[in-house]
């Protein structure tokens, strides 16, 4: 339903993404992983029609996304940017109501359908009691839920989220990811997101996409993507991968960055030995 065909994307003369092909599987949770600055946000923004590729196309339901209006696309695909900002007075309700923007007419008017969508989004994110609070007085987890509620009010099949769990503590990360899984399983939303926590990514995703230097290094089920070889290639980190004792999904235990190995001090002799030891333990 959403696919990128051989795209090249950049800012000005700087090329960030090159020769990238990607198909987003409908009804699944797809997670991008990759080092800082490798182009994950750029890719997500391109898929959401915010950046126009200099070559190749993005197709949504078989049609070129850049030949359709912003508003039309916004009815099918919702985007949550990385740590978005809300002006100080904006309340949760006002924020969620913005989700109805693409469905509205020129001068406004508020239909029952709009109101219902807003109420449902608030309820789904357990925000009904906080609806009249200004967004910037909420805790990090509540704030992120408010933003997700806004994208829910958009009533799209596709949800694109850039690092929805960054800056949240562990319990709130799990909270957000459980909510997203629920949206996927119960409301059949197709979810595409960027996560930094590899182990949570492996646990919650159907498909993982390893992005490296602006292109897809490998993609597939977490078991296929979360291998020591892939982690070494995209993060430059030595690790062992064992089954997650809780979920059974791959669990990555980092050992050392490879930079240390070539360092001048004791690390040089120590760390490969440690690594070997850890590997033996893992087996």
């Amino acid at each position: 339903m959403l696919l990128a065909e051989n795209i090249q994307v950049g800012y000005g003369s700087k090329i960030v993404i090159q020769e990238l092909n990607l198909t987003i599987a409908p009804g699944q949770i797809t997670t991008f992983i990759g080092a800082n600055g490798c182009g994950k946000s750029t890719l997500l923004r391109t898929l959401a029609r915010l950046l126009k590729p200099t070559a190749g196309t993005v197709l949504l339901d078989g049609r070129d996304i850049f030949k359709r209006s912003t508003r039309e696309v916004a009815k099918q695909l919702a985007l949550l940017p990385q740590t978005p900002y809300a002006p100080p007075e904006v309340t949760v309700r006002q924020l969620v109501r913005l989700g109805r923007y693409p469905h509205g007419r020129w001068l406004g008017g508020w239909s029952d359908r709009d109101e219902q969508a807003v109420q449902e989004a608030l309820a789904a994110m357990k925000l009904t009691d906080l609806a009249d609070q200004p967004v910037d007085t909420l805790s990090g987890g509540q704030r992120q839920r408010a933003w997700i509620a806004m994208t829910l009010a958009q009533e799209t099949d596709l949800l694109l989220l850039d690092e929805p769990t960054t800056y949240l503590d562990l319990s709130h990360q799990l909270d957000i990811l459980d909510i997203l899984r629920e949206l996927n399983r119960r409301h059949h939303k197709t979810i595409v997101m960027v996560l930094h926590d590899l182990n949570l990514a492996a646990r919650y995703s159907d498909v993982m996409v390893a992005v490296h230097q602006g292109t897809v290094y490998t993609q597939g089920k977490p078991e296929k993507v979360m291998t020591p070889e892939t982690i070494r290639a995209i993060f430059d980190v030595e690790c062992v991968v064992i089954p997650d004792p809780v979920a059974g999904t791959p669990l990555c235990i980092p050992i050392a960055t490879r930079n240390h190995e070539v360092g001048e001090d004791a690390g040089r002799t120590q760390e490969p030995a440690q690594a070997r030891h850890a590997l033996e333990l893992a087996r």
């Binding site: 985007l79 978005p84 900002y85 001068l107 009249d132 007085t137």
Partner: protein, 344 residues
């Protein structure tokens, strides 16, 4: 439900009727103030005599004063105040800068430069000729800022607009000062205009600028829905289906038309465009249709009273109106700031 109410959502709670009533009250207040401004200081003429003279101005001295001086003055005060209120909201929203005043687009500097040029180079003296010069100057300056911002990469970002405006303002102000220093006698002539005043503005000057002001106001009203999204970052707005660049251009055009028309009419009136959006937000929060209408009414109210004060406090001499908008507005603004109603 029982959530803590904070100043952020505006003191007039969320109840619809409260906002409607206060708006109605403000509107009546504007009408009353305009009427007071017309009648004030007309000696011992009774209200009925003034009304009769206003309706049938032919001949009588009172009628002429009303028609030539008082009515245009009050009308211009209301219109300029309302338009500055509107453009302040537009500008602070589109630049995402709550400290932005309409001077930021270089409009005031452009208008002042053009007026000084008109007087010194072309020997213009009539108010309507200077109104045209002011209008051309502010529109040209606005267009310059606009083009600079659009040609820079990054979709005319708020920062680019602000920087371009600041740069042009500096350039034009120093040119204006240079002209004034070279031609000292002109200074006294220009001063009445350059410090902002409603004195001696004719109905004709109003008619010259009215189409520009009306066009700006129409754009502002047409953008009400889009404006709500403009304080959010581009990715959020675009992700919700807004054509960000076009909306920013439209809002910029509206600001230039509104504030440019105002500065041509009344000279640079300081502080009003900065202050009224804050007062409005303090009352009704940031919900756009309300904020625009409240700011327009508050702007009109403050400017009319500032004008009344400007001509009465030190009679017979007149004070620059910007001094009085600041004197009237600053206490409110400080109050709002202390209550936590202003956050950047």
């Amino acid at each position: 439900m029982n959530s803590v109410r904070t100043v952020n959502e505006g003191v007039l709670t969320n109840r619809l009727w409260g906002k409607v009533w206060i708006l109605l009250l403000l509107f009546i207040g504007v009408l009353f103030s305009a009427l007071f401004s017309v009648c004030e200081g007309l000696g011992n003429s009774s209200i009925s005599a003034i009304l009769a003279a206003a309706l049938h101005p032919s001949g009588s001295q009172l009628g002429t004063v009303l028609q030539e001086v008082r009515i245009p003055r009050a009308l211009i005060g209301v219109i300029v105040g309302a338009c500055l209120g509107l453009s302040g909201v537009l500008l602070q929203t589109m630049t995402r800068n709550r400290l932005a005043d309409v001077g930021i687009f270089g409009l005031n500097a452009g208008a002042s430069f053009a007026v000084v040029l008109g007087i010194s180079l072309f020997g213009m003296t009539s108010v309507s000729a200077l109104t045209w010069m002011g209008l051309l100057g502010s529109l040209a300056a606005g267009a310059c800022v606009y083009l600079m911002a659009v040609s820079a990469p990054g979709r005319a970002s708020p920062t680019t607009i602000t920087l371009a405006g600041a740069a042009l303002t500096m350039l034009l102000s120093s040119l204006t000062h240079a002209l004034l220093v070279l031609d000292q006698p002109m200074l006294s002539q220009v001063l009445f205009w350059i410090s902002g005043s409603l004195a001696g503005r004719s109905m004709h000057a109003l008619l010259v600028t009215l189409p520009f002001l009306a066009a700006g106001a129409l754009i502002a009203v047409g953008m009400v829905r889009a404006l709500a999204l403009m304080e959010f970052e581009d990715d959020v707005a675009e992700g919700l289906g807004q054509r960000v660049l076009w909306m920013r251009l439209a809002a910029g055009l509206a600001v230039i038309l509104l504030a440019g028309g105002c500065v041509a009419l009344a000279g640079p009136v300081g502080f009003l465009g900065l202050m009224t959006p804050h007062l409005g937000r303090w009352l009704v929060g940031s919900s756009m249709p309300w904020l625009l209408s409240y700011s327009a009414c508050l702007g009109a109210l403050v400017l009319v009273w500032a004008d009344v004060a400007a001509r009465t406090v030190l009679q017979p001499s007149e004070l620059p109106i910007g001094v009085l908008t600041a004197l009237i507005g600053a206490p409110f603004l400080i109050h709002v700031a202390r209550r936590g109603g202003i956050r950047s």
